[in-house]
């Protein structure tokens, strides 16, 4: 699965970095920095939790499909 951010929505609340520190850091302004877009199977439940916690629905977990 692939983690994506709609940057026009993201307001830097930072919950994603708390719930998914394995993949998400915050920059000096509080906006997420993804270490990688690719989410391993083991992290998918945590990623889902981060996605549902995002107050502005900026974080998405997408299935890249067979080509991804």
């Amino acid at each position: 699965m692939r983690l994506e951010i709609d940057w026009t929505r993201c307001d830097g609340h930072g919950l994603c970095a708390r719930l998914l520190p394995e993949l998400v850091d915050l920059d000096e302004h509080g906006f997420p920095v993804l270490r990688t877009h690719d989410v391993t199977a083991a992290l998918v439940p945590h990623a889902r939790r981060a996605v549902s916690a995002c107050p502005v629905l900026a974080l998405r977990l997408v299935d890249p499909g067979p080509r991804g």
Binding site: D6, T8, R9, D11, H29, F31, V33, V56
Partner: protein
């Protein structure tokens, strides 16, 4: 803020084969009768034939992304709902090539757009521009001919970011000229939500030239990887700007007078600095193999007697001011990067600090503005190590800032980000 007045267009010359610029050497606008004498009449072409022809000459989009035209044609569903969008929103301050084409040879743009629309089985053609002169020239051209009655010329003010194709589509549809947060291809949903074939003005003019001359003549000049000609806006030392039409594959140093011993900016303000032109050639595929992008065709070599780091800082401040304010990493990150580059000029900072800030930007926006700005700054710092060291040691390189790279005045920053929840 009111848009700045349209600047007078620079001279435009063809070096070698004049195709797009045929007949424009004295700066005159080409009316329909002259256009037909120079370029003939473009016969309607079906989609398969147009795809075959654009494949044979490997025609690439001339806006920035250099996407293959044939691939885009094939990806656009044909039909009467389909839209054709000619993007003439030339928002890069150093670029004049699109406005040159629209004001001097507007019928080439219309020939290309109408041929593409015909091939796609639609009559919906929209041309979107920022400036008065281009809008005026195109509207006159529409009135001069009988086959362009359905062509819409839409004028929308806007800056650098609003030239991005999805931003241009939103502007045409009456929304704020900002790219959307989700990356939806225009071929899926573009103007009025319909499938849209969108490309840059020069692309359509190249299609017209290809159709009027045929594949063999089109490909008789230029690099075999991307035959034909391309338009550049050239800023060489003190002589720029000049819009030039060159056969692809031409040696870059051949466009720059004198000794090739100074940094060159390839691809404009979203482009890349190189230490010298070296053996680079003006061909999108060849430049891509060298890790460079021609983007909208701006090539600049500032004169030897200006403070290059100061030039880079001024452009970076402008790039920061051009952030549309949609995306936090760009809205906050670009001004932080600009301040760090200013600190380098003042000798108060080390280049690693600016590189670290630039490295955070790519991929973190709805459009490629943060990516382009980061590449501009980080390549400059790699090339200008000597200048950076001089500034660090002495607070100056000893040269005045001459403003060789054009930067529009930076207005006051809006107090809040657009969009988002804030």
């Amino acid at each position: 803020m009111a848009p700045p007045e349209a600047p007078l267009l620079p001279p435009a010359v063809a070096l070698g084969a004049a195709r797009l610029l045929l007949g424009t050497s004295h700066g005159q606008r080409i009316d329909l009768a002259t256009h037909r004498r120079l370029h003939g009449t473009v016969a309607p072409v079906d989609l398969d034939r147009l795809v075959a022809m654009t494949t044979e000459v490997a025609l690439l989009g001339r806006g920035g992304a250099a996407f293959p035209v044939a691939t885009k044609l094939r990806a656009t569903p044909a039909g009467s709902r389909t839209q054709v969008l000619v993007n003439g929103s030339e928002g890069e301050p150093a670029s004049f090539k699109d406005r040159t084409v629209m004001t001097r040879t507007p019928h080439l743009v219309l020939d290309g757009a109408l041929a593409v629309a015909g091939a796609l089985g639609t009559r919906h053609v929209t041309i979107t521009v920022h400036d008065d002169a281009s809008a005026h020239s195109l509207r006159r051209a529409v009135q001069e001919r009988r086959d362009a009655g359905r062509v819409r010329v839409v004028q929308r003010p806007g800056g650098f970011v609003s030239g991005e194709v999805r931003a241009a589509i939103r502007a045409v549809d009456g929304h704020a000229p900002l790219p959307g947060g989700r990356r939806v291809l225009p071929s899926v949903s573009g103007v009025k939500g319909a499938p849209t074939f969108a490309s840059n003005v020069e692309t359509f003019a190249q299609v017209a030239v290809l159709l009027s001359r045929g594949v063999r003549e089109h490909a008789s000049v230029g690099d075999p990887d991307e035959p034909g000609t391309t338009l550049l806006t050239l800023w060489a030392d003190d002589s720029g700007p000049v819009v030039v039409e060159v056969p692809t594959g031409l040696a870059l140093h051949g466009l720059l007078p004198g000794t090739d011993d100074r940094p060159v900016l390839v691809g404009g303000y979203h482009g890349t600095w190189v230490p010298v032109a070296g053996d680079l050639r003006v061909s999108r595929p060849a430049l891509r193999r060298a890790g460079l992008r021609l983007n909208a065709g701006v090539v600049a070599r500032p004169p030897a007697d200006t403070c290059l780091l100061g030039e880079v800082a001024a452009v970076t401040r402008w790039l920061a001011a051009e952030s549309a304010g949609q995306c936090g990493p760009c809205w906050f990150g670009l001004p932080a990067l600009a301040r760090t580059v200013d600190d380098l000029v003042a000798g108060r900072q080390v280049p690693e600090a600016a590189q670290a800030r630039a490295a955070l930007l790519p991929g973190r926006g709805a459009c490629a503005h943060p990516d382009g700005a980061a590449g501009f700054v980080s390549s400059a710092l790699e090339v200008l190590t000597h200048e950076v060291a001089l500034h660090r040691t002495h607070g100056t390189c000893g040269r005045p800032l001459r403003g060789a790279l054009p930067v529009p005045p930076v207005g006051p920053r809006p107090s809040a980000r657009h969009g988002g929840a804030r």
